[in-house]
């Protein structure tokens, strides 16, 4: 099948599943590829010492975050709470690459004003919430977001992500139980990527499949291949519609694999090389590209145009972020409270030029 650069699908293309339109397939491709490419840029910046803290990749898991988040209805005000490896889900909700890069580089212009790291930020308007590091805590918080939907009789749905490791936390349990008892419109994505840091699944839980946990909460259970973008979309959409219709909580297991270490400093010494090779062959981006090629829903030329656009956008974003400066020191003590919004500097700081401060000991 020779690559075609025509804008229209081939007439003999099979029907697009899950009620998706062709434009949506392209948009999904943009988001999937953007997640991958953005993280590659971040890796470069990290190697150059420009990322201040750690870098957490989602290599090999991009489809699960993008496909699931894409199933939300942004016009209806659906909402999500991502975890560290769900960059893709935030891009779906409208987070901008420039925001992400600034955030990793701790720039004054970052969404948190340099206060928080990596993808720890949110936007109530766009519909995603700023996570904290403490695993599990976002589950009760999203239960509360969904409770607000119910109290106000708004037909909105919430989506919350947890890793296989995060399911061991008490807050995960309390949050899901709260949501199922209250029959809240919540969907919980359990990402089974094989590891929690260095700990394999069987040292995290005695269940064979994470989806077995649903029965313990009286939640609906579903699962899909997390590396199959459209399958992820479909299974999540089903759960979202059920939630919107008042059917309560669904817990979905997406099976995937973490192809990098926990963070860039972790060389994954504990992972057999063959296993990595196996999962590289199942790469979700390649797979989606192949699917588009094989079906002819989207032409290779269109795909290439998306890639080119992404590279341009990222060139611009990196340049813009690099140009920005670190936050002004004094901004560190603002906005802790709604009132008072400002705080006095410590008395021995007043009058000393913050720039002239000694660097930390060492």
């Amino acid at each position: 099948m020779p690559p075609s650069s025509a804008a229209a699908p081939r007439p003999q293309a099979p029907a697009i599943p899950a009620g998706l339109a062709r434009e949506q397939l392209l948009e999904l491709y943009y988001l999937l590829r953007l997640t991958r490419s953005l993280e590659e840029r971040l890796t470069n910046l990290y190697r150059q010492g420009k990322v201040i803290g750690g870098l957490f990749r989602s290599l090999g898991q991009e489809a699960d975050a993008v496909g699931s988040a894409y199933a939300l209805d942004r016009d209806k005000g659906d909402f999500l709470a991502p975890l560290t490896r769900n960059l893709g889900s935030m891009l779906v909700q409208g987070a901008e690459p420039l925001q992400i890069i600034r955030q990793y580089m701790a720039k004054a212009t970052s969404p948190s004003g340099g206060r928080e790291m990596n993808i720890h930020f949110g936007s109530i308007e766009k519909g995603y919430i700023g996570q904290i590091s403490h695993l599990g805590d976002m589950v009760p918080v999203m239960a509360g977001v969904c409770l607000s939907f119910r109290i106000r009789k708004e037909p909105r749905v919430g989506l919350v992500y947890v890793g296989d490791g995060a399911t061991s936390t008490g807050t995960f349990h309390e949050g899901i139980n709260f949501a199922t008892v209250q029959r809240l419109p919540l969907v919980c994505i359990m990402e089974n990527n094989g590891f929690a840091y260095s700990t394999p699944l069987h040292k995290q839980t005695a269940v064979k499949r994470l989806v077995d946990k649903a029965a313990g909460y009286g939640a609906h259970a579903d699962s899909a291949d997390g590396n199959d973008l459209l399958a992820v979309y479909e299974v999540t959409q089903r759960a979202i519609e059920r939630a919107r219709a008042g059917g309560g909580v669904t817990m979905i297991e997406l099976t995937t694999y973490r192809r990098k270490g926990h963070a860039e400093h972790d060389n994954q010494g504990y992972v057999p090389k063959e296993e990595l090779a196996l999962w590289e062959a199942k790469d979700p981006v390649d797979r989606y590209e192949r699917r588009l090629d094989e079906t002819g829903w989207v032409s290779a030329g269109e795909r290439e145009a998306v890639r080119a656009r992404i590279e341009r956008e990222l060139d611009d974003a990196v340049a813009a972020a690099e140009h920005d400066s670190f936050p002004e020191p004094e901004t560190a003590i603002a906005d802790l409270y709604a009132s008072p919004a400002a705080q006095e500097p410590l008395w021995y700081r007043a009058g000393t030029a913050p720039g002239s401060r000694l660097t930390p000991h060492g």
């Binding site: 949110g122 403490h134 509360g144 409770l147 939907f149 109290i151």
Partner: protein, 326 residues
């Protein structure tokens, strides 16, 4: 203007705010039909319905986390801890999630977490705690501790209207033991962050809050009568933010200060107050800042033990005499 108890004042304040603002709702264990373990929300389920008075599972972290999520979306949750001792189960959620939400992510988090604290009721180590010091150490939270029926009402109303997360520690010993005639005025508000001069005096100041205000007043009377020592009693009402101005004013007035709190001694709130006085009014001091507190043990159950561990009026008198003579 009928006299109402501290508990009734709290209930009235809650109810007025629920009537005033439909964004306000209540969640907690047994707060619905049952009206709460101490009946603070009695009648609310019937009046406001089950979507605004929500019985939850036994899940303090989820109660607090869900309150935060709802607060972000524009509601005004009031979460009840059945006993404040169980707030420890939500410590992570409060200190890491709730307290930091605005600072790190610009999230509005107007919510109240309230519950019965305090001893003198033979409740043993897990139904008598005073957790304020654990949270005083958490930037981003506010903490109020009403001592009077008026402030029980005024502070719950102010806490609900506040745009920041507020911990409201109500003292269960006071629930039905003190009464006050209060206007049914919907605008009885106690400003958060402002202390109250509970008694004027010249010779010595007692800085205190919550139930200890009453023991301090009792001691002040004994000292007046038996020693001719005139004692000023400052009721802090809010611990975070602390009313430095009021503390300094009384220090500068009497030059002798003692701090009384019911909580254990080491790491308690009195340390912070002492440090502030040292930094800001050292030259005004005519004597050491002295503490009357519980002894450093879990609060035991037997009356003889509980009475021994908790601060008593006689302790305050003892220490005040030492300080007056200094």
């Amino acid at each position: 203007m009928a006299e109402i108890t501290y508990l009734e004042a709290l209930r009235a304040g809650l109810r007025e705010e629920m009537l005033r603002d439909e964004r306000v709702f209540i969640l907690g264990e047994d707060v619905g039909k049952y009206g709460g373990a101490f009946k603070v929300t009695e009648g609310f389920y019937e009046e406001f319905g089950e979507s605004r008075v929500i019985d939850t599972p036994i899940s303090e972290a989820a109660i607090v986390g869900a309150a935060a999520g709802a607060a972000h979306m524009g509601l005004r949750p009031v979460a009840e801890m059945q006993f404040i001792d169980f707030i420890s189960c939500a410590y992570d959620m409060l200190t890491n999630y709730v307290a930091t939400a605005r600072y790190r992510a610009g999230l509005p988090t107007p919510m109240v977490v309230r519950g019965p604290c305090g001893g003198y009721v033979r409740g043993g180590p897990f139904h008598s705690q005073n957790p304020e010091a654990a949270f005083l150490h958490t930037p981003g939270l506010k903490i109020v501790c009403p001592a009077t029926a008026r402030d029980a009402k005024g502070l719950i109303k102010a806490a609900i209207r506040d745009d920041d997360p507020v911990l409201y520690f109500e003292h269960k010993f006071l629930y039905r033991r003190i009464k006050e005639a209060l206007p049914e005025d919907g605008d009885l508000l106690t400003p958060i962050g402002k202390a109250r001069l509970a008694r004027e005096g010249q010779d010595l100041s007692i800085v205190t809050y919550s139930a200890m205000v009453w023991k301090s007043l009792e001691a002040a009377e004994i000292l007046e009568k038996e020693d001719g020592v005139s004692v000023e009693v400052l009721d802090l009402r809010t611990l975070l933010p602390m009313d430095d101005e009021a503390i300094l004013a009384t220090v500068k007035k009497t030059s002798k200060v003692m701090i009384v709190h019911e909580d254990t001694r080491t790491g308690g709130v009195a340390g912070e107050i002492t440090a502030r006085i040292n930094e800001q009014a050292f030259e005004w001091l005519d004597g050491p800042v002295l503490r009357v507190t519980a002894a450093d043990v879990p609060l035991p159950y037997a009356p003889t033990l509980e009475d021994y561990v908790l601060p008593q009026t006689a302790d305050i008198v003892n220490v005040a005499r030492k300080l007056a003579a200094y």
